[in-house]
C-alpha cells in the first residue's frame, strides 16, 4: 500500500514530468497529438503516461554522494544488497552491501529497493525445507544491512520482527529477487518466492527479474509467484563469440524475444530494464578471457599497445597491464556499449509489454560512465519511445 502523502508527491512528480516532457520535446508533442488525435481529451492519464525513469545500483559500496541522483525521477533506487551463492553445501550470502555516506545515520536521499541476486545453483540445490530457512535468512540479513537506513519517504525503523514471526513493518516497500531460473529450478524457485512472500509484511511488494528467454518461453519457464517483475532487456548476445557484434544490447536479437506470439499478455505487471553501461571483452586464443568494466575508446588510444581493427575491435600488440588485467600480445578486445540509437530501437519494441500506472523504466546501472554522461532528458525520451 502506498501512503497518501507519498501518492500525492508521486502524482505531482508525474504531472511535472508530463509538463517537462512537453516543454523539452516539441517534436514529441506533435507526434503525441497526431498519434492520440481525437482520443486525447478522454484518454485516462495512465494511458499517455510513460514509465518513470529509475536505476539499479550494483556495486558493493553505495556512495550516494558520488551518484548522479538527478537522473532518478522518483526518490527510489534499486540496490543490490548481496548475492546468495552455494558454498560448502549451503547457501551463503556474499558481496554484502556497504554504505558510505557523509554522515552515518543521516537519512539517505532516496528509498532503497533492495535487490538480492540468487544463483540458479542455489535454487537447484536448496531443499524443500531449506527454502523457508533461506527466505528467513535473506530477510534477516536485509534487516541487518538496512535496518538503520531511513529516508524522508520511508516508514521509520527496522522491520521489528524476528525470524518466524510475522513482521509488522519494514524499512523497504519493495524487495526484488534476481535469479536466472530455468525450467529445472522453477519449482524450487517458485516455492522459495511463495515462502518469502508469506514472510513479508502485506505492504511490501515482492518483485522479480524476468529475463527475455523467460518472457518468451513462459510456458516452459513458468510465471513466478510475485507481485510484479522487471523485464531485463540486456545481455542478449553470445558473449563467448568474438564475432558477436554487441552482446549487451542488439535490437536484431531482442526483436526475437519481444513477441507475444499468440501467448497474450504476460501475467505479471512488468517494469522494464535497459542497459546503460559499457565494457571491454578480452579474447585470448579464441576464448573469452575477461570483461573489463567500463572500458572505453580512450583507454585503448595508445597505438603502441593497441591496434584498432575497426570501430569497436582492437588487437593487443604488446604485453601490457590494462586496468589491472594482464593482456598478452595477440589478445583481442571488443568494446561493447549501450548506444542510444539501439536503446531507442529496443524501447520501441518494448511497446509490446503492457503499460500500467507506476510502471518504471530502470537502467542498469547508476554509477557507470554512461550514466554519468547521459542526460536525464535522453532517458526520458527513451521512456517516451516505449509509449
Amino acid at each position: 500500500m502506498t501512503s497518501k502523502p507519498d501518492l500525492l508527491v508521486r502524482n505531482l512528480l508525474a504531472s511535472a514530468r508530463r509538463v517537462n516532457a512537453a516543454i523539452i520535446s516539441g517534436a514529441t508533442i506533435v507526434c503525441l497529438l497526431i498519434f492520440y488525435g481525437c482520443e486525447a481529451p478522454d484518454t485516462p492519464d495512465y494511458q499517455t503516461a510513460r514509465p518513470t525513469v529509475g536505476f539499479y545500483h550494483w556495486q558493493q559500496t553505495l556512495r550516494p554522494d558520488s551518484l548522479p541522483l538527478h537522473l532518478l525521477e522518483e526518490p527510489e533506487l534499486f540496490v543490490k544488497c548481496f548475492d546468495v551463492t552455494w558454498s560448502g553445501g549451503r547457501p551463503e550470502a556474499v558481496a554484502q552491501l556497504e554504505i558510505e555516506y557523509k554522515d552515518e545515520g543521516a537519512p539517505l536521499p532516496f528509498r532503497i529497493v533492495p535487490v538480492v541476486f540468487i544463483t540458479n545453483e542455489v535454487m537447484r540445490r536448496v531443499s524443500n525445507d531449506g527454502s523457508m530457512e533461506l527466505a528467513q535468512n535473506i530477510l534477516l540479513l536485509l534487516d541487518n544491512l538496512l535496518g538503520y537506513q531511513t529516508c524522508p519517504a520511508c516508514p521509520q525503523g527496522g522491520r521489528g520482527s524476528s525470524a518466524g514471526e510475522s513482521p509488522q513493518s519494514s524499512s523497504y516497500r519493495e524487495l526484488q529477487i534476481d535469479c536466472d531460473w530455468t525450467a529445472g529450478s522453477r519449482k524450487s524457485y517458485f516455492k522459495f518466492l511463495s515462502d518469502l512472500k508469506s514472510l513479508l509484511p502485506e505492504e511490501v511488494t515482492l518483485s522479480v527479474t524476468v529475463r527475455l528467454h523467460q518472457f518468451r518461453d513462459r510456458k516452459a519457464q513458468g510465471i513466478p509467484p510475485a507481485d510484479r517483475g522487471s523485464l531485463m532487456v540486456y545481455n542478449v548476445g553470445d558473449l563467448n563469440r568474438w564475432e558477436t557484434e554487441n552482446s549487451i544490447i542488439d535490437s536484431n536479437i531482442t526483436t526475437n524475444y519481444l513477441t507475444n506470439a499468440g501467448q497474450g499478455e504476460y501475467p505479471l505487471a512488468l517494469d522494464l530494464a535497459l542497459p546503460l553501461y559499457q565494457w571491454g571483452a578480452v579474447y585470448r586464443q579464441g576464448k573469452l578471457a575477461y570483461l573489463i568494466d567500463e572500458l572505453g575508446v580512450d583507454d585503448l588510444s595508445d597505438s603502441l599497445r593497441f591496434e584498432s581493427l575497426n570501430q569497436h575491435r582492437y588487437f593487443v600488440s604488446q604485453k601490457t597491464y590494462l586496468d589491472g588485467y594482464l593482456l598478452y600480445s595477440g589478445d583481442n578486445i571488443r568494446l561493447e556499449s549501450s548506444p542510444y540509437g539501439t536503446l531507442s530501437a529496443v524501447a520501441k519494441q518494448l511497446s509490446i509489454v503492457p503499460s500500467f500506472e507506476e510502471q518504471r523504466l530502470l537502467f542498469y546501472r547508476i554509477g557507470s560512465e554512461l550514466s554519468e554522461t547521459t542526460s536525464a532528458s535522453k532517458l526520458r525520451n527513451l521512456s517516451h519511445s516505449i509509449r
Binding site: W58, S87, G88, I138, L141, D178, D293, Y321, G324
Partner: protein, 765 residues
C-alpha cells in the same frame, strides 16, 4: 574510480557448462599419466599445478581455514619439540576451552596446585600438562587473549547472521594487548601478540595504526624464523594497500605467496598490479632476480595466463627457479589432454565440443618443445634429468615415438629420484602401448598382468582405458571385430541387434580352454558371470526372430536346465482382440520358460500336421499363429523374442525409416532390430482358416490374419500407399452371417467402416 566488476547480475546469462544431448554435462575423457610430483615442490604447493584459480574454485573457505589451522598447530608443535600431541593442541587452541584455560591459568599461578588438581580434560591433555609442569602462564595468557580476539577477526559461519559491531571492542583489545606486550618474556609469544595486534588494527581499518604498531613492535622481537612473520606481513601489506602504497603491498604479497602455503590463497587474491608502470616499479623493488622470477611465477597462476611467456621470463631471470618446473608440468598436462592417444580416444568428438584439443595446441606443443630443448641443452638448472624426461614425453605427445624412446633411454641412468623413476616407467609403458600394431596370446597375457595390478591402476587410473582403447583399434585393424566390440561394449549391448557372427565368436571365446587370461578377463568383465548362458539365450533369440524355431530350441537347450527360468516365463497362446504390448496376464495362465515354450509351439505344429480332424488341426495351427503373433513386436509377449522395443519405431517403420526392421537408436551404435515380421503368424492363421469347417472359427482365424496383414503393411513402410484389405474382404464375402463377424464390427472400428457400418470420420486407422 573505475572498478573492475564482473557482475553476477550481468553474467548470469552466460552458459555455465556444456550439456550433452541428454541434458547431462559433458565430461572430458582421455588419458593422464603425468605426475605433478615430479616437479620440485613441497606437496602443499602441488594443488596449484592446475592453476591457482581453478583450485580456488574447488576449495571453499573452510578448506583454507583448515590449512591455516594445520600450519598453526604445526608451529606450536615444533615449539614444544614435538613433546605434546597435536590433537591436544587443537583441543586447547581451537576447542571451546576458554573456561578450562582460565582454570589452568589459576592453577599455574597457584604454587601449591598440582597436576592432579586439574580437571580430567586438562589432566589428560599433553599440552595442558606441559604448560602446568613448566608453569607457562604466559602461554595461557596469550591463548586466552587470542580467544577474545577471534570473534572480531573471523567471518561468522552463518553469512546471513548479523556481524557484531566491534569497532570499539577491537580498539579496547588492541590497548589490552599493547599493555601486555612489554611484559611478555618469550619472544615467540611476543611475535604472536604482534600478529594479533596488527590483525585487529587491520580489520578495524586503522591502516596507519598498523604501520605504527609494526614499527613499534617488530624491533622488540627476536624470535626464531616462523610462519607468523609472514602472517604479520600479510596484515602489514593489507594496511599498505589500504593506504594506497600498492607496490610495497604487492611485493610483500608476492613473498608471502612463495613462502607461506597457508596464506598463499589470500596473498594471491590481494596481489594487484594495475599498470605497466606499477609492474616496473615492483620489479625494481625486488631484492634479487630470484624474487623477480617469483613475481612471474605468481602471475602465471592465473588460469588464463600464457604460461610459456611467463616461463621464458622466469628462465631468463632464474634458470633454476622451482616454479619453472611446476609451470612446465602444468603446461604439459594441458598438452597431454590435447594430444595423448587422441587418435584412439572413443570420445574425441565429445572432447572437441569441450574445446579439447585446443585450437592452438599444436603450436603450443612446438613452442614448449623448443623451450624445453633449450633448457635441457643449456644445462643451467640443477635437475637436467627433469628436462630430459619432459623432452621425451613431449616427443611422445607429438607422436615422435622414436625420439621419445631415445630420450627415455638417455635419461634412465641419471634418475636417482624415485618419483622421476616411476614417471619414466609409466611413460615407457605408455609408449609401448601406443606402439602396438599386433596382438597375440603372449602380449595379451602380459597386459592381463598389467590390468590385474591394482596398485598400478590406482596410481594411473587411465591406464586400463588406454590399453582397452588401443587394443580395440588393433583388433579392428586386424579383423578381430568381436574382441574390438567387447572392448567398447558390454556383451548385453549386442541384444539391441543380434549379430550371429559375433555371438558365435564370443561363444567360442567363452568355452575356449586355451590359456589366454586376457580374453577370459575381457569376457568376464564385459559379459559378467553368466556370459555363456546369456550368449546361448541371445543365439536362441536370434533364431527365433528368423522363424527358425527348431534351431532356437536346440541352441537354448545347450543351457543347463536349472538356468532356463532365468530367461523369463511366457504365455503366448492367449488371444486378445486389441493389441497392447504391456498387458497384465491373468494368474491362471500357464507360464512356460523359453525351452518349454519353444517345445510347446513345435508340438502344436506337429500335432496339427498329423491331426486327421480338420477343426482340431485348425485350432492347433491357430495356437501356433497366436504364439508367433504375441511374440512379435505387436504382441504382449514381445519380450520372448526381443530385448528392447520402442513404440516410436512403429511410426518410423510406417514412414519407411527402418532398414529391414532395424532402426537407429541413441542407446547403441549397433542400432535396434524390432521383431516386426508377421509372415509366420499369418501363415499359421491362414492354415487354420483353410482347415476349419466351422464358419465361426473361420471368421476368427480370418480376422487374426487381417491383423497380420495390417501390421505388415505399416511395418513395411506402407508399400503402394494403399492399405490392403484382403482379409476384411474375405470376411465380408464368406463370413458375414457369423456371430464373430458381428463381434468384429462391434470391436473393430476400421472393420465397421469397411463394412459400411461406420462413417470414415468415426473409423480407426
Amino acid at each position: 574510480m573505475r572498478r573492475v566488476l564482473i557482475s553476477l547480475f550481468t553474467l548470469a546469462v552466460l552458459p555455465l557448462a556444456l550439456v550433452g544431448d541428454c541434458g547431462l554435462p559433458l565430461e572430458y575423457y582421455g588419458y593422464e599419466f603425468l605426475n605433478p610430483a615430479i616437479s620440485r615442490l613441497d606437496s602443499r604447493f602441488l594443488p596449484y599445478i592446475g592453476g591457482f584459480e581453478t583450485l580456488y574454485d574447488e576449495l571453499d573457505n573452510e578448506d583454507w581455514e583448515q590449512m591455516q589451522q594445520t600450519d598453526n598447530i604445526d608451529e606450536w608443535y615444533e615449539r614444544y619439540c614435538e613433546g605434546v600431541e597435536k590433537q591436544d593442541l587443537v583441543a586447547l587452541i581451537y576447542g571451546d576451552s576458554e573456561r578450562r584455560l582460565q582454570a589452568l591459568r589459576r592453577a599455574i599461578a597457584d604454587p601449591e596446585s598440582r597436576l592432579s588438581d586439574l580437571e580430567a580434560k586438562l589432566r589428560t591433555n599433553s599440552f595442558a600438562r606441559h604448560l602446568m609442569k613448566y608453569r607457562c602462564g604466559e602461554v595461557v595468557d596469550y591463548l586466552l587473549y587470542a580467544k577474545k580476539i577471534e570473534p572480531h577477526v573471523t567471518a561468522p559461519r552463518n553469512t546471513f547472521a548479523k556481524k557484531p559491531p566491534s569497532g570499539n571492542a577491537m580498539k579496547r583489545l588492541v590497548e589490552e594487548g599493547l599493555a601486555i606486550f612489554p611484559t611478555v618474556e618469550s619472544h615467540y609469544l611476543r611475535l604472536r601478540y604482534a600478529y594479533q595486534l596488527l590483525r585487529l588494527s587491520h580489520y578495524r581499518g586503522d591502516y596507519a595504526h598498523v604501520l605504527e604498531l609494526h614499527e613499534y613492535l617488530m624491533p622488540k622481537i627476536d624470535a626464531d624464523p616462523s610462519l607468523i612473520y609472514y602472517w604479520i606481513d600479510g596484515h602489514y601489506a593489507g594496511a599498505l594497500l589500504g593506504l594506497g602504497r600498492r607496490i610495497e603491498a604487492a611485493y610483500l604479497y608476492s613473498r608471502i605467496f612463495i613462502n607461506c602455503p597457508s596464506k598463499r590463497e589470500s596473498a594471491y587474491r590481494s596481489f594487484s598490479i594495475r599498470t605497466d608502470d606499477e609492474w616496473k616499479e615492483l620489479l625494481l623493488l625486488c631484492k634479487s632476480d630470484r624474487e623477480r622470477a617469483d613475481l612471474y611465477v605468481l602471475r602465471a597462476q592465473n588460469d588464463r595466463a600464457l604460461l610459456l611467456d611467463e616461463m621464458r621470463a622466469i628462465y631468463a631471470l632464474d634458470p633454476d627457479n622451482e616454479g619453472l618446473e611446476m609451470l612446465t608440468v602444468r603446461e604439459i598436462k594441458q598438452l597431454e589432454m590435447d594430444f595423448l592417444a587422441n587418435d584412439l580416444n572413443p570420445r574425441r568428438r565429445a572432447n572437441l565440443s569441450l574445446g579439447i584439443p585446443r585450437p592452438d595446441a599444436r603450436q603450443r606443443l612446438i613452442d614448449l618443445q623448443q623451450f624445453v630443448l633449450e633448457v635441457a641443452e643449456a644445462d643451467r638448472g640443477k635437475r637436467p634429468e627433469f628436462w630430459e624426461l619432459a623432452r621425451g614425453y613431449l616427443h611422445l605427445l607429438a607422436g615422435d615415438f622414436h625420439y621419445a624412446r631415445r630420450a627415455f633411454w638417455t635419461v634412465a641412468p641419471a634418475l636417482e629420484n624415485d618419483t622421476l623413476q616411476q614417471q619414466l616407467n609409466i611413460m615407457r609403458r605408455v609408449l609401448d602401448i601406443m606402439a602396438i600394431t599386433e596382438l597375440n596370446d603372449s602380449l595379451e597375457n602380459a597386459y592381463f598382468k598389467v590390468l590385474a595390478n591394482e596398485e598400478l591402476l590406482e596410481k594411473y587410473p587411465d591406464l586400463d582405458n588406454l590399453i582397452y582403447d588401443k587394443f580395440r583399434d588393433v583388433y579392428r585393424d586386424n579383423g578381430e571385430y568381436g574382441k574390438a566390440f567387447l572392448l567398447t561394449h558390454k556383451l548385453r549391448d549386442l541384444r539391441y541387434n543380434l549379430d550371429i557372427d559375433l555371438l558365435r565368436e564370443f561363444h567360442a571365446l567363452a568355452v575356449d580352454t586355451n590359456d589366454n587370461s586376457f580374453e577370459r578377463r575381457l569376457l568376464l568383465e564385459r559379459g559378467g558371470p553368466n556370459a555363456v548362458n546369456d550368449l546361448i539365450d541371445m543365439e536362441a533369440t536370434y533364431y527365433l526372430q528368423r522363424g527358425q524355431l527348431r534351431l532356437a530350441n536346440k541352441v537354448f537347450r545347450q543351457m543347463p536346465e536349472e538356468n532356463w527360468n532365468d530367461y523369463g516365463n511366457y504365455a503366448p497362446f492367449k488371444a486378445y482382440f486389441d493389441d497392447r504390448v504391456n498387458r497384465r496376464l491373468p494368474d491362471t495362465l500357464q507360464l512356460f520358460n523359453k525351452a518349454e515354450m519353444f517345445q510347446q509351439v513345435l508340438d502344436l505344429e506337429e500335432r496339427a500336421d498329423l491331426s486327421p480332424e480338420p477343426n482340431e488341426a485348425a485350432r492347433l495351427y491357430y495356437g501356433v499363429g497366436l504364439a508367433y503373433y504375441n511374440m512379435s513386436y505387436f504382441g504382449y509377449n514381445w519380450r520372448a523374442a526381443d530385448y528392447f522395443r520402442s513404440g516410436e519405431n512403429a511410426r518410423r517403420a510406417a514412414n519407411g525409416q527402418g532398414n529391414d526392421f532395424v532402426f537407429t537408436t541413441r542407446q547403441t551404435e549397433l542400432d535396434n532390430y524390432e521383431h516386426m515380421s508377421m509372415e509366420l503368424a499369418r501363415y499359421y492363421f491362414e492354415q487354420a482358416r483353410k482347415k476349419t469347417l466351422d464358419p465361426e472359427r473361420g471368421a476368427r482365424y480370418a480376422y487374426w490374419a487381417a491383423k497380420t496383414e495390417r501390421n505388415q503393411y505399416y511395418a513395411d513402410g506402407m508399400p503402394g500407399g494403399q492399405r490392403p484389405f484382403g482379409y476384411f474382404q474375405l470376411l465380408t464375402d464368406y463370413y458375414d452371417d457369423t456371430e464373430y463377424y458381428r463381434k468384429i464390427i462391434e470391436e473393430c472400428r476400421t472393420f465397421a467402416w469397411f463394412t459400411g457400418n461406420l462413417s470414415l470420420d468415426e473409423s480407426d486407422n
